[in-house]
């Protein structure tokens, strides 16, 4: 895609390029945003509050949590505390993107952080690591495109209210599939495969121990740090080890193939 744009000059307009890149998330957000708007409406949010929360919090998980906690009459304190644990993992997203966003202005950084979430992070991380021409400005536009789809879907959900029902467990699988795709794209070395399995086991363990999404943060921190320690140990003793060698891929690696999104 980026290659095509490069070869044919201005043939592909910027908005079209960004739309193509963000499309998997945009499309997933339509049914999930609808379901979220419906639930927020059912828990008493009016349309303006639904718009406000979609823009200011912009997180499916967080908005579903708000809706379900309000439905069970939780206190403000409980909702905000749960929110804090749920959103703590965004510190990890920011940290792992920081090398691509260094030296940007304060305003840009503030704006970028405001609309960063799991899904557009997934897209932007992949683009930054496979497409040299992908700029922080492109990444910000990807965020805003996904924000637009999310907010509009929430508005429509809020307006139609409970007149239709959407099976949330089914539509949520769109995001699960997106994350599975991201894992497959990451498994470029044998060691990453080991860390993936380790993270899975740790996630089950810590989610059940903490009884909250804090388990996600702990399992990610622990698994990634173990990965880092193992890689450093291997590099010290056997730099040519097959555990940290790039694996061959039948579909071609993203570096050689810019059309992965099509």
């Amino acid at each position: 895609m980026a290659n095509k744009a490069g070869h044919s000059g201005e043939a592909v307009p910027q908005w079209r390029k960004i739309l193509d890149i963000s499309l998997p998330v945009d499309l997933s957000y339509i049914p999930i945003g609808l379901a979220c708007g419906i639930l927020l409406h059912a828990s008493g949010f009016n349309i303006w509050m639904t718009i406000l929360v979609s823009i200011m919090v912009f997180s499916g998980g967080a908005q579903f949590l708000i809706a379900s906690l309000l439905a069970t009459n939780s206190s403000l304190y409980t909702v905000v505390l749960m929110m804090f644990f749920l959103e703590l993992r965004y510190a990890l997203l920011g940290s792992s993107l920081s090398k691509h966003l260094q030296g940007k202005s304060l305003g840009f950084t503030a704006l970028f952080a405001a609309s960063m979430n799991d899904e557009n992070y997934a897209i932007n991380y992949l683009k930054f690591s496979t497409d040299k021409k992908f700029t922080p400005k492109d990444a910000l536009q990807v965020e805003h495109t996904t924000l637009l789809f999310w907010t509009v879907s929430n508005i429509i959900g809020s307006v139609i209210g409970s007149s239709i029902s959407i099976d949330l467990t089914v539509v949520h699988f769109a995001l699960t599939a997106l994350f599975i795709y991201m894992i497959i794209m990451q498994l470029k070395e044998k060691l990453l495969f080991v860390i993936c399995l380790l993270a899975g086991v740790l996630a089950v363990f810590f989610l059940m121990i903490t009884k909250s999404t804090l388990g996600l943060v702990i399992s990610t921190l622990v698994a990634s740090f173990i990965g880092f320690l193992i890689e450093n140990t291997i590099r010290k003793h056997n730099p040519k080890s097959s555990w940290i060698k790039q694996l061959r891929n039948p579909g071609g690696s993203p570096k050689e193939d810019d059309d992965i999104y099509e």
């Binding site: 200011m56 952080a113 089914v170 599939a177 599975i180 894992i183 794209m185 899975g200």
Partner: protein, 111 residues
Amino acid sequence: MKWNTMQHFWLILACFVVAYLPRILPLLFFRTRKIPVWFNEWMKYVPVSLFTSLVVKDIFISSDYTFMPLTARVPELIAAALVIGVAYWTRSMIISVLVGLGAVFLLSILI
């Protein structure tokens, strides 16, 4: 007790603050500082660990944080296996998402 709109507004504001701080602090911290090599080497393992944790939570963990019996998750397990295959061979994000969504939709009707 039903919340009124003003209470909803304050709730959103409070949620914004706790959601925004973890988003912006690391980016602010590294905006002007040099990122240590070890930190970037560590961060290399963050995406795969985070995405795996999210998938495991979606597929195996119930909303009250217990391990769900696998027999109750047959549609999701089959669909996940399908998505792994499709992602591996096509390298296409959009096809992976659509196949996953279609598979889980059909399987939850059939099973």
